[in-house]
């Protein structure tokens, strides 16, 4: 009787040993000995703990109304990865955040996605810029990109043409984030992108739009500079064809840790601006009725020989990304004005203005802080709740 029970025709999956094996964590660093290089830079860099693609821009609909749009994909490499053969094994986690700013609506329409890589449902290509979650994607195609987003409140299908070469946001494509050279990222931008396509707002019919956008692609492994809680960043397409990127890192009390910028003149000459060449002064602030956060939404700025003020398309451009990265920030369309004339337009990002650190999410986790939730996770202000990794190391 026992004979026909021997051996397994279809073996059940083997069970792992008692101590669950882990995959080694690759040592990666941003350093000038390995400068950023194209076309490699376009693809994803999965060995780095953190990477994102950020498209922001101004659109005009068929009625001539101005709109702001944003689409961000984040990739996080988990700090610990187990040698689990499961297709669900959380090696890389992807987040996507999309927003449309329409002054007639008065606040952002937003949508979010989060997924683990695997089964083809979310991922990023290594050779070109292609990153996706389900049907949301940013895809490099020939001399441009396509962007598609489909959600209840908003949807876009946009074609983006590249008309200017990539702009490395620092020497060798390395953007220094603080006094310590470890705090740095690989970072390039594509300013003056031409956008054509269609959008859907809520359940209104699709409408044609066109405009100008800016793409950031950045990856890193280093820390947010010590003491910093957030940053202010802006990227502006200047009307003369130039491009300007500025960022500054703030402490909790608002004082400055670091600031820097890049100005590509209309003639293509790139000027890296040290902190001493920049002043950014808030002109007024706006308090969010939802989160209670107070954001400086208008600024007076001097960068090198440029002098202008920044004004938002509308005050309320707060993005509450509770369902994906768990952060609350202000990310909105702004116009650069000088003596009553617009000299450029782009986006402004303000992070770390929320309530101070929340120790322990959901209350119950606080009792075992070290194993599961590392300190970075608990800072609700941080865009990227990633331990041991730069916070969005200001573009």
């Amino acid at each position: 009787m026992g004979i026909w029970i021997q051996g397994n025709a279809i073996a059940a999956a083997p069970l792992p040993p008692e101590t669950l094996p882990r995959l080694p964590s690759p040592a990666v660093a941003v350093q000038s000995s390995s400068p950023m290089q194209f076309p490699n830079a376009y693809g994803s860099h999965p060995r780095f703990p953190l990477e994102w693609w950020y498209i922001t821009g101004w659109l005009k609909d068929s009625g001539g109304h101005s709109l702001g749009f944003q689409l961000t994909f984040f990739r996080l490499r988990m700090p610990k990865i187990w040698a689990n053969p499961s297709a669900f094994n959380p090696r890389q986690i992807y987040f996507a955040q999309a927003a449309l700013g329409d002054p007639r609506i008065g606040h952002l329409l937003t949508a979010q996605r989060a997924a683990r890589g695997g089964l083809g449902l979310a991922g990023a290509n290594r050779d070109t810029s292609r990153v996706w979650i389900d049907h949301w994607q940013l895809r490099q195609k020939g001399q441009g990109y396509t962007v598609s987003v489909n959600a209840r409140r908003l949807a876009y299908r946009l074609h983006i043409s590249v008309i200017q070469p990539p702009l490395p946001e620092g020497p060798d494509g390395i953007s220094q984030k603080g006094p310590n050279p470890r705090n740095a990222s690989y970072y390039y931008s594509l300013p003056h992108l031409l956008v054509n396509g269609k959008i859907r707002i809520r359940n209104h019919p699709w409408q044609q739009v066109s405009g100008q956008a800016w793409l950031d692609h950045e990856w890193s492994s280093s820390y947010l500079p010590a003491g910093a809680v957030g940053w202010d960043w802006t990227g502006l397409n200047l009307q003369n064809g130039g491009a300007l990127m500025l960022f500054r890192m703030r402490r909790a009390n608002g004082s400055l840790v670091w600031q820097a910028g890049t100005w590509r003149h209309a003639n293509g000459k790139v000027q890296y601006l040290p902190g001493s060449a920049i002043t950014m002064q808030p002109l007024r602030s706006w308090q969010s009725p939802e989160s209670g956060n107070r954001y400086p939404t208008a600024w007076k700025i001097r960068a090198g020989s440029l002098d202008f003020t920044l004004h938002p398309l509308m005050e309320n451009q707060e993005f509450r990304a509770i369902q994906s990265t768990g952060s609350i920030y202000w990310e909105g369309a702004v116009a650069a004005m000088k003596s009553g004339h617009r000299i450029g337009s782009g986006y402004l990002e303000l992070t770390g203005y929320g309530a101070r650190l929340h120790m322990g999410i959901g209350g119950t986790i606080a009792s075992r802080p070290t194993r599961q939730y590392q300190p970075g996770f608990r800072n609700k202000q941080n865009i990227i709740p990633q331990p041991g990794v730069t916070e969005k190391a200001a573009p």
Binding site: M1, I10, W82, G326, T364
Partner: protein
């Protein structure tokens, strides 16, 4: 005028109120438990599904994870969340359900198990972290931060509890971990249990389903969470209907009690009513006044009965769970939520029962001529009812019994039982008179008095008897039905348990023996023969819960060596492989022996031929038995859940088991039993599942006895003048007591005999109609004669004693009898 007559006899009125209260309480308690059970199951399923519109699952087996990928990207899907359900074995062998989830997707669907850290799900990405719900923490006396050792696929793993979450299903302990960890630690790489889907705006579940249903693997279902709940509710529908009918019967008995009380009150007050008529009150007003007396008994009964019912339901739920021991619902303590509409229904039913008990006496009191009422002796008796309606009801009852069931509920049989009980009401006077006539004519004066009394006023006597007849018939019916059922189960167990030792891999139902264990067990010295059993579930019928698939060592030529066959098809060696289906499955599916069906096993399913139908009481949802060799060929599964061993003659079982324990150090979780132990255990479970029935019977007996005592007390009261007259004629007080004793014995026997007859008829309806139609199982009729005799004797003496007791207290003051003019 309304309550004075009732207040004059507070004990009788109190008993009537108590009867209504008990009836209402019992009915309400049963109904509340039923509703709560179904509500818990279906709302639990809905809550677990979050905002999902549809759930893809394949009951009893797994889906490949590519199905998740396909559906997640399918047109019309907004969010898709996969889940893998596995069993974690706690130290001590108990099973903790473990849900492997993808927190990111579950959170997007608003599913409750994704709650612990919205937006920050990374804690769960460590495969040895898990989240327990509050019930599990309470059950295990653990706190977040503690560690918990769980056996995953037989390997103990040390998990850290990183958080607590509210119970997704109230009262149900469960653990949540990452789906990747569940696949890895449980050896289920590439497998998932279900996918919850939220559809895009404007896509209806129906449309999506119609597009996908044809492309799904066999046995897969795509249901809305509501449908999942209703499928589980439908499975237990017949059981719940049965219990509800039983509980209504208690109320019915209560209404008889009101009838008994009020008909005597009405007769007693006929003269005063007649005087009122003379004074100018109209017939209609008198009718209403008597009805109001019914309300006077019904309303307090309801006011006491409703809270009593709620308390009883709460206590039963806390103690037994919504299950009531029947196995249809998860065995966990549940809290009772308020159901005001159900309360009102039973309050109305209670008042209705009281009013219907009043209607007949009220009608009688209004139709009699005044002159007749005013005359002397008018309390005694009017014209008693004609038996014709009784015969008509009997015929109706017979006709109703032949009706087919509707949606699996034996409405015809239930109506037939009701008609039968009503018929008794009309036929009882005839029976009493016949018994008086049949009594041998003896010259002994007391005897003649007795016979004359029975012949002369059969209506009055039968009124006192109605409640006891109804109560006893129900007891008999249940005793015969339960006895037959139990006997059939015992017989079936004897028939199928041939082996010497039965081993189960664990209590978890789906647990398997280690790969080599079966082979080693079967080759132990002393083993003559061994047989393997692999149990799993299969989604075989649409809109029904999955059925049990039993793969076992069985000889296709001689299936009756393993199963209790009821019907077989002629063998067809060239046809597809044979399977045998249980009688229950045959009843649900209407499949016939010889028919070819498709079992949803593997990617395409397999054709099989139904070789026969066998008796099975174990799986209420139905079962299919398949030769193990065929199952192994189709699935590649070689491991078993159960092993039966036959020992060589002369090998002692205890010695053999010692050897098993020595050679299999991991056998502590195994369940090892001899056929005797299995029989005993099964019958214990059987008895527990009839716990609710026994409670109902007890209440019916109490109400019946209350009715008898009420009826006779009133009767003796009415006949005080008669007794006084007899005393004057020279009868001693002792003689009158003997007369009453004789009457009591005769009437009690008559009541019990009538109850026996009606009860047997009802038992036949239950065995032959209600059970096959509701549950699709047959049983042989088995008369528990000894039990019935005992019951009959007990009830006869109880009712005799009740009669004597109520008579004695009234006759105590017989000096005043002649003057009494009440």
């Amino acid at each position: 005028m309304v309550w004075r007559p009732l207040l004059a006899h507070p004990a009788a009125s109190f008993l009537a109120i108590l009867g209504v209260a008990l009836g209402v309480a019992l009915g309400l308690a049963i109904a509340l438990i039923n509703v709560q059970a179904v509500q818990d199951v279906s709302s639990g399923l809905r809550r677990l599904a979050g905002e999902a519109d549809l759930v893809l699952s394949r009951p009893g087996t797994h889906l490949g994870d590519r199905w998740y990928a396909r559906l997640a990207l399918a047109r019309g899907v907004a969010v898709a969340a996969p889940q893998l359900l596995v069993d974690g074995i706690l130290p001590g062998g108990r099973v903790l359900p473990v849900w492997g989830i993808d927190t990111l997707q579950s959170a997007a669907l608003g599913q409750p198990m994704a709650l612990p850290a919205p937006g920050h799900p990374f804690g769960l990405f460590d495969p040895l972290n898990l989240v327990l719900d509050r019930s599990a923490l309470r059950l295990l006396h653990l706190h977040p931060g503690d560690t918990l050792v769980l056996q995953a696929a037989g390997v103990p793993r040390r998990f850290t509890i990183i958080a607590a979450m509210p119970d997704p299903v109230p009262g149900k302990a469960l653990a949540v971990l990452d789906i990747a960890a569940a696949q890895w630690l449980w050896g289920k790489e590439g497998k998932i249990s279900q996918v919850a889907l939220r559809l895009e705006n404007g896509v209806t579940p129906e449309r999506f389903r119609s597009r996908w249903l044809a492309h799904l693997p066999p046995g897969a279902t795509l249901r809305t969470p509501r449908e999942e709940g209703s499928v589980s509710a439908r499975a237990s529908l017949a059981y719940r209907a049965n219990l509800l009918v039983l509980s209504l019967v208690a109320l019915f008995t209560g209404s008889f009690l009101v009838y008994t009380t009020l008909s005597f009150t009405a007769i007693r007050q006929r003269r005063s009513l007649a005087i009122l008529r003379v004074l100018g009150l109209r017939k209609r007003e008198i009718f209403l006044a008597v009805l109001a007396q019914g309300l006077f008994l019904g309303v307090p009964g309801v006011l006491a009965g409703v809270p009593l019912g709620i308390l009883a339901a709460r206590a039963a739920l806390a103690k037994m769970g919504a299950n009531l021991g029947a196995g249809y619902f998860p065995d966990t303590g549940t809290a009772l939520s308020p159901h005001p509409w159900l309360w009102s229904i039973f309050a109305l039913a209670g008042v209705g029962a009281a009013l219907s008990g009043t209607a007949w006496p009220a009608w009688e009191s209004r139709k009699l001529p005044i002159v007749h009422l005013l005359g002397p002796g008018s309390e005694e008796e009017g014209k008693e009812g004609h038996p014709l309606p009784g015969f008509l009801l009997l015929a109706l009852s017979g006709g109703m019994a032949e009706l087919p069931p509707i949606h699996g509920i034996a409405y015809g049989a239930y109506f037939s039982i009701t008609a039968l009980l009503l018929a008794v009401l009309f036929l009882l006077p005839l029976g009493v008179r016949l018994s008086g006539r049949l009594a041998p004519r003896m010259e002994f004066p007391l005897f003649r008095l007795l016979a004359d009394q029975l012949q002369g006023s059969p209506g009055r006597a039968s009124r006192s008897l109605a409640a006891i007849v109804v109560a006893f018939s129900l007891i008999v019916a249940m005793a015969v039905m339960v006895g037959s059922f139990r006997d059939s189960v015992a017989d079936w167990l004897r028939d199928i348990l041939h082996a010497d030792i039965y081993l189960q891999a664990g209590s978890g139902g789906q647990r398997l023996f280690p790969p080599e264990a079966a082979a080693r067990l079967c080759s132990l010295p002393g083993v003559r023969r061994c047989s393997l059993l692999r149990r799993s579930v299969l989604q075989l019928l649409p809109h029904r819960p999955p059925v049990v698939l039993l793969a076992r060592s069985i000889n296709p030529q001689q299936p009756d060596k393993t199963l209790q066959m009821q019907d077989t098809a002629s063998p067809d060696p060239t046809g597809p492989p044979p399977v045998w289906i249980s009688e229950i499955l045959a009843g649900i599916s209407h499949w016939k022996p010889g028919q070819t069906i498709v079992l949803p096993i593997g990617p395409k399913g397999h054709k099989v031929r139904i070789a026969g139908i066998y008796r099975d009481y174990a799986y209420q949802q139905g079962a299919v038995t398949l030769p193990f060799s065929v199952y192994r060929r189709w699935t590649g599964h070689r491991r078993a859940n159960g092993i039966a061993l036959w020992l060589r003659p002369g090998v002692p079982v205890t010695r053999f088991l010692e050897r098993v324990r020595q050679q299999f150090p991991h056998s502590t979780g195994w369940q090892i039993a001899t056929p005797g132990e299995i029989r005993q255990q099964s019958l214990k479970i059987f008895d527990r599942s009839f716990a609710a029935t026994y409670a109902l019977e007890a209440v019916a007996i109490i109400i019946g006895l209350l009715g008898v005592s009420n009826g006779f007390g009133a009767q003796v009261l009415l006949r005080r003048q008669e007794f006084a007259l007899l005393r004057c004629l020279g009868l001693r007080r002792r003689d009158i007591r003997h007369l009453l004793l004789g009457e009591a014995i005769v009437l009690s026997i008559l009541g019990v005999l009538a109850g026996l007859a009606v009860g047997l008829a009802i038992a036949l309806l239950l065995i032959d109609r209600v059970n096959p139609q509701s549950f699709h199982w047959q049983m042989q009729i088995h008369m528990p004669w000894a039990e019935l005799l005992l019951l009959a004797l007990a009830l006869t003496s109880a009712s005799t004693l009740t009669i004597l007791w109520s008579a004695r207290s009234i006759l105590a003051h017989d000096a005043e009898l002649l003057h009494d003019d009440s």
